[in-house]
């Protein structure tokens, strides 16, 4: 029964060691005593082990139903299934923060172990920076938001985990999100190391390339898991509501995406040095902001912020220190950051990346404005406002269309610059293909909304431009190596994982965008009362209410309706929407029934009985939602493939037939 004390004690040790990790390398560098840096390294390992013990202690308290622990009593119950007890650690603020700190401890240990001998000048600063961040978190956990608190009078049963969180989507959403957030701490620390040491080369970019890719992949996956959870649990037929909680994770994603592109420019052309430092510092700061916005109660209400003034003030101070220290360092060192290289032409890869960055950052700003403005208004007490989907549809979507257009032009451009005629020769085929597709959609599919037309146009444009580029590279390889199509293309994809992994990510994003626009524009919704035997038509489907009965789960009971859905082509499925009541919660929760198909989802929500045999239902036909999930899977595959590339592509020979981006335009060389 002492597990929680063990966890508490381990966390105290971790805090002490984090301070050692923060201070020792500073002493070591200033006093020129490398032994002190090694002390810092050992401290980092101890932090990782101690925080692992702390996490184990809390998880075991959940498994043992130790309701004398306040955090367990508030987020678990006797009837909570094993799987959710195992993951209830991140069911509330306190545990989430501990989980965050634990991940950072693990990452720090891994980073130090990996980069110890390869980056001896950076490692001391990296240790100190990460030590400072962990210290900040552990002080918050131990003094203001402790998951280790005991209750004087333990209850017989816990308050249970919020039923909305009892869903597989919510089990995976927070850890993936956090693996992303925390991962950006490593490139952030290396960037600060470059600034502190004044050795502002491209080393930090190359060293942390994989950390960046990995974190970006985790953050992307985490956001998609969140959307998937919302779609399955919240029962309003959608997956993204531009809710501040969602935006909080999306803003760092946008800036990280900009960084992912612009760091390639620095690797290849030694440009955008200041900009890259700015982007990674911003990404990590926004990751912190995202964590705190969601996990401090600031967002759900300003009042909660005031109800625990200590926590709020501490978080504000912590953010201020991080922002001032890192941006201050950037400004202080900015005279050393003058890039020797200038942009030579607007028709070049680096210019395309510049505009990609510009639009992504503006997109991040639009979301940030929509998220923080209501908070600011409320805090100032002038008015309470909400910013809804119409704002984002009007502003954010067009910006993203521009980014997609740039994505399509990307593969056709070369570094340094090219002549306009050459670009025109390359661009007309994808443009023509895209125009034909948009025209067909307009005349045959009946797509009238400008966003629909633009989306189809851009999707085809990107797909064709990437396909053509790949096809040309395969043809070259077939001729050069005298290979058949299949060996040539598989060789090519294996030789340049980074490029073709990137292509896969791009195609995944295109597929997702088609899903977003399709489900956003063409959703069909019906709310009505059905008696048994009544039917309703949604698209090609005829949905009949055939019966209702009670079902019993492990910790809930439910009314379950049977809806038979049939098409003219003889497809027949049964949907089972439920209205659940969980044992420990007085209020009902909705469990939507979803039948996913390639082109559309049928989504049914059961309401309340209107009279004896009549029940209220809400039904949706959501076109192309499965494309969102499918595109996300493509994106994940692509990024995994890119991660496998060991060498940076700078060290590759310049002309090896892998596409225009690796060729030098003869007119400029």
């Amino acid at each position: 029964m002492m597990w929680i004390e063990l966890a508490h004690f381990a966390t105290i040790i971790a805090l002490l060691m984090a301070v050692v990790q923060l201070m020792a390398p500073v002493v070591g560098v200033l006093a020129l005593r490398p032994a002190w840096v090694r002390v810092g390294r050992q401290a980092a390992y101890v932090v990782a082990v101690a925080l692992t013990l702390a996490v184990i202690g809390v998880v075991i308290s959940f498994l043992n139903h130790d309701f004398s622990v306040k955090y367990v009593a508030e987020h678990s119950s006797l009837s909570l299934p094993f799987f959710y007890r195992l993951t209830a650690l991140w069911g509330g603020h306190e545990g989430s923060l501990l989980f965050w700190a634990w991940l950072l401890g693990l990452y720090t240990a891994m980073a130090v172990w990996r980069h110890w001998s390869s980056h001896p000048h950076s490692v001391p600063v990296v240790l100190s920076v990460l030590g400072a961040v962990i210290t900040g978190f552990l002080v918050l956990i131990l003094f203001l938001s402790s998951p280790f608190e005991r209750l004087p009078r333990p209850p017989m049963d816990g308050r249970d985990l919020n039923p909305m969180l009892q869903d597989p989507g919510m089990v995976f959403h927070p850890p993936f999100l956090y693996m992303g957030y925390v991962g950006f701490a490593i490139p952030f620390a290396f960037a600060l190391a470059a600034l502190v040491n004044g050795r502002i080369t491209d080393e930090w970019i190359v060293a942390t390339r994989r950390w960046t890719l990995f974190s970006w992949a985790m953050l992307s996956t985490g956001i998609v898991f969140g959307a998937y959870w919302a779609y399955h649990v919240l029962g309003w037929g959608g997956y993204w509501a531009w809710d501040p909680v969602e935006n909080a994770s999306f803003i760092p994603w946008l800036v990280a995406t900009a960084f992912l592109h612009s760091n390639m420019v620095q690797e290849r052309r030694h440009m955008f040095m200041r900009w890259n430092l700015f982007l990674i510092i911003t990404t990590f700061s926004l990751s912190l902001l995202g964590t705190f916005l969601v996990r401090s109660g600031v967002l759900s209400s300003v009042h909660a912020f005031a109800s625990d003034p200590g926590r709020g003030v501490y978080i504000l101070m912590f953010m201020t220190v991080v922002l001032l220290a890192s941006f201050g360092l950037l400004v202080f060192r900015s005279d050393r950051l003058k890039s020797e290289v200038r942009l030579e032409s607007l028709l070049s890869t680096e210019a395309a990346f510049l505009f990609n960055n510009l639009f992504l950052v503006v997109a991040a700003l639009t979301v940030l404005l929509g998220t923080l403005y209501p908070l600011a208004m409320e805090t100032l007490g002038s008015a309470k406002v909400t910013v809804g989907a119409p704002y984002y549809n009007k502003v954010f979507v067009p910006i993203m269309f521009i980014v997609l257009a740039l994505m399509g032009v990307g593969p056709m451009l070369v570094w340094r610059g090219m002549q306009a005629q050459r670009l025109l020769r390359a661009v007309w085929i994808p443009l023509a293909g895209a125009s034909i597709a948009a025209g067909l959609a307009f005349s045959f599919l009946g797509v009238r909304h400008p966003y629909g037309i633009v989306c189809i146009f851009l999707a085809l444009f990107v797909a064709v431009s990437h396909g053509l580029d790949w096809g040309a590279a395969v043809r070259k390889k077939m001729i050069a190596a005298k290979q058949g199509f299949i060996p040539a293309s598989s060789n090519l994809i294996r030789r340049n994982k980074r490029r073709y992994g990137g292509f896969m990510v791009h195609l995944g994003i295109v597929v997702m965008t088609v899903g977003f626009v399709g489900s956003g524009l063409f959703q069909e919704e019906k709310e009505l009362v059905l008696a048994q035997g009544d039917f309703v038509v949604m698209g090609d489907w005829r949905l009949t209410f055939t019966g209702i009965h009670s079902v019993q789960g492990s910790n809930w009971t439910a009314q379950e309706a049977l809806i038979t859905a049939e098409t003219d082509h003889g497809k027949k499925i049964t949907l089972r929407p439920q209205k659940r009541v969980y044992n420990n919660h007085p209020m009902p929760a909705t469990e939507a029934a979803i039948s996913s198909h390639f082109l559309e989802d049928i989504y049914v929500v059961l309401g309340e009985p209107v009279s004896d045999a009549n029940w209220a239902f809400r039904l949706y036909r959501n076109p192309l939602v499965s494309w969102v999930w499918g595109g996300a899977e493509m994106m994940a595959l692509g990024i995994l493939w890119s991660l496998l590339q060991g060498r940076s592509f700078k060290s590759k020979k310049r002309v090896d037939g892998t596409g225009p981006a690796l060729q030098v335009d003869p007119s400029h060389s």
Binding site: M164, H303, E344, L346, V395, K579, A589, V610
Partner: protein, 149 residues
């Protein structure tokens, strides 16, 4: 040559950022939805007539009337001082109950029943509905924008 190219680049960026900024700001201010309690909205008179607003308060005990056999309903939203009649057609959220907190969104037309397009039930983080005692009503003014998650 080098300098004029740079100038063009800076000009391009300037124009693009300016246009985006203008687009952003007009859309932003145009799509803000303001939040009021019944007392506050009644005080605005006809200022907000035709605007989309959110109104929050408590569903008054005993005021909920459902039209039999349909999804139409009418109820009073109160902030303890003033009341506002609200009509809604559709499935209310799971936590919608008399005596509990609610936020309704719709177009404000003074002198008429407030026709809500959206009804949100307020609840705490532990999925427990916000009890609306007198103190709760006072607190809810601060708490009203709790979202559904």
């Amino acid at each position: 040559m080098q300098n004029s190219r740079r100038l063009y680049l800076i000009l391009t960026i300037f124009v693009v950022v300016g246009a985006l900024g203008a687009l952003l700001w007009t859309s932003f201010t145009g799509s803000l939805v303001y939040f009021y309690t019944p007392t506050e909205i009644l005080q605005t008179g006809s200022d907000k007539s035709g605007h989309k607003v959110r109104i929050g308060g408590m569903v008054q005990e005993g005021s909920l009337v459902k039209q039999p056999g349909s999804l139409k309903m009418r109820f009073l939203v109160t902030d303890g001082t003033n009341r506002l009649a609200v009509t809604y057609e559709g499935m209310p959220p799971d936590l919608f109950r008399e005596g509990q907190g609610v936020v309704v969104e719709g177009v404000w037309r003074p002198g008429q029943d407030f026709n809500a397009g959206t009804v949100l039930a307020k609840h705490s983080e532990d999925y427990i509905p916000v009890k609306m005692t007198q103190e709760g009503i006072a607190r809810s003014k601060e708490n009203m924008l709790r979202t559904l998650k």
